[in-house]
Amino acid sequence: MSRFRLDPDRLPPEAEKLRGEVRSFLADELKDFPAWKRAYTWMGSDPDFSRKVGERGWIGMTWPERYGGGERTSFERYVVLEEMLAAGAPVAAHWIADRQSGPLLLKYGTEEQRHEILPGICRGEVYFCIGMSEPDSGSDLASVRTRAEPDDGGWRINGTKLWTSGAAGAHYMIALIRTSVAEKKHQGLSQFLIPLQNRDDVSIRPIRDLAGNDHFCEVTFEDTRVDADALIGEEGAGWGQVMAELAYERSGPERYLSCQPLLEGLARHLGPAPSERARIAIGKQVAHLATLRQMTLSLAGLLERGENPALEASVTKDLGGVFEQDLPGIVQGLVADEPRTDDDGSDLQNLLAHLTQNAPSFSLRGGTREVLRGIIARGLGLR
């Protein structure tokens, strides 16, 4: 019988208590934050904002206190995340470190690395990017060709990572790199922690996207030398480590909330008495929104209990991606206003312009729709 382990869960009172605190923080901090910037949600980067979030203790919330963490529950962290995303707060600078790089270092890093790096992440000062895709490796991630070779007690890295979000502002990359050529391509891969700043053997080139932004980058390693402890976890076990990490990357509320500022903008634009057609459209979005929220909450519960919900996360991210990708078209179907990126456009027009253009990325980033559905099909026993 095909059933997923997605049982309804519930935020405990201590997590719910945090909601008001986060909302009033955001109301203050984002008082003059324009609508079009909210459209970037977790792709919008602002180190000042990240530092303030860090001051509140809202980065690395679940990590041990000895590394600067807050030793709070995944549910408390969940409330902070979903409130930040729903408000369209510019969380990008610290997002990846908080979501997956920090947890990875907690699991596989050396004690020295943890003490050196984690407190800075928690303060909102140290940022990470994830080096996975390459010019010839996208969905077929195991085909990566960037190589690391032993070099005088450390490693020497050569190759290129592509579509790396936030690399230009990041202090570190955690990269999936080939350390040996094995019979099976999933073997012989390892994860490396690579410091990115102030070095001339790494070049970072931002790539302009169709909407004119430069979130993602090409990162080239030319005889880049790292120390022995840059190898994270076990040599050759990188594939398994990455798959476990992807459960964090694919399970969060950012996988259905990318268009939330637009949905709120639409509701405001329509006013208290919209047409019946508009009310039906909004009612449908609310129903899916509320259900996707319950699904991600359930995933947070599974992660809190130490399980690896890779399959359930893929199901949720796939549904969430369809949901958030549909929204700009639904909004455009309800309003006569054209999307506009210029200053004279209304808030709704600005949100619509940015999210219409960014929507194609929702089913590409963090694993394409096709890859996710392949994982689900495997879960169904079809492959």
Partner: protein, 347 residues
């Protein structure tokens, strides 16, 4: 899952999985009443799941009912089990006696006048009594009418389940205290959503099974990526509807006594609306994929796929379509001055 829920889930799976054959369902669709199965259902106490022990009930809650209704949907059980569960619950709340036998539900509120017609009554012809909501002098009360004293005009839904028009003739009994006018529509929508979650599970299992057996171009069709992608989408529909339906049952468990309006604290209408909307959408995509995967054989009456897909198409329109619930929910959401997110997170 509680022990009680687990036990119920086992019971219904055994009862419907073993004792109900496709031939039985076909006979029911031809108009036959499955008396032995109904007897087993009553003997297992399923129809009185929500009642207090003094009324012969199991003192269960809506999450127990979730297990029953999901199995009813999963196995296309052609009996008024969920209708009787809801009817007995209404009667107990109204302080009325609980009659024996299968009960029918009046899907919309009536005035309770003699000679008044009630349309599309699930299982009207088979029920010993019909239960619904009657509004009188501005107040809505539970109504129970002896089915022997009705004129029944037989009809059916697209799944060939009885949906009869009746004329109320006599002996109307109404109970206390007053309830919300929409109570039957609301809890009817809840039950249909759960049944739909079950039916979607079934068509996913059938489709995955078929894709693993059927060979074309020298390999099983399930090994083609295009089929895998479609079945993955179907699995997503199952996951979403199951979550929405279970969350709605949880909300019903925690509801205060008198249902009022969508969005009110302690009222499950928000969650039930979400479930019926999500299930309604899945009732479009789900059967499409299942039939596409099955090809021509799934379009025959001989194959059992249609028992589930026709139910999905019928149930999505009953007790309020997804569009009707979306209009209600959208109206509430628009009135929420703090925005949609504030509404969703207040639940």
């Amino acid at each position: 899952m509680s022990d009680a829920r687990g036990l119920i889930a086992e019971t219904v799976e055994r009862l419907f999985g073993d004792a109900l054959t496709p031939e039985d369902i076909a006979r029911a669709e031809a108009g036959q009443w499955l008396a032995p199965l109904w007897q087993s259902v009553e003997d297992a106490g399923l129809t009185r799941a929500l009642l207090r022990p003094e009324n012969g009930g199991a003192d269960g809650d809506w999450l127990d009912v979730f297990e029953i209704a999901r199995a009813v949907g999963r196995h296309s059980v052609p009996l008024p089990i969920v209708e009787t569960i809801l009817a007995t619950w209404l009667l107990e709340r109204a302080g009325l006696g609980i009659p024996e036998g299968p009960l029918g539900l009046l899907p919309t509120a009536v005035d309770g006048r003699v000679g008044e017609r009630a349309d599309r009554v699930p299982w009207g012809r088979s029920a010993s009594h019909l239960v619904g909501i009657a509004t009188k002098d501005g107040e809505a009360r539970v109504l129970c009418v002896d089915a022997a004293k009705l004129d029944v005009r037989e009809g059916q839904n697209v799944a060939l389940e009885p949906r009869d028009d009746v004329v109320l003739t006599d002996a109307l009994v109404t109970g206390e205290p007053p309830l919300a006018r929409e109570t039957v529509r609301l809890y009817g929508a809840l039950l249909r959503s759960v049944q739909m979650a079950g039916a979607l599970e079934r068509i996913l299992d059938q489709s995955v099974g078929y894709a693993g057996e059927r060979t074309q171009f020298g390999k099983t069709i399930g090994s083609f990526q295009v089929i895998q992608q479609d079945l993955a989408r179907l699995a997503g529909q199952v996951a979403e509807v199951s979550m929405a339906a279970e969350v709605a049952c949880r909300a019903a468990c925690e509801s205060r006594e008198t249902p009022s309006t969508i969005g009110a604290t302690g009222d499950p209408a928000f969650e039930i609306a979400c479930a019926k909307i999500v299930a309604g959408d899945a009732a479009e995509l789900g059967p499409r994929i299942a039939h596409q995967v099955h090809g021509a054989i799934g379009f025959t009456y001989e194959h059992t796929l249609h028992f589930s897909t026709r139910r999905l198409w019928a149930w999505r329109a009953e007790f309020g379509s997804g569009e009707e619930w979306a209009r209600d929910l959208g109206t509430i959401a628009q009135r929420e001055s703090d925005g949609i997110w504030a509404l969703v997170t207040s639940r």
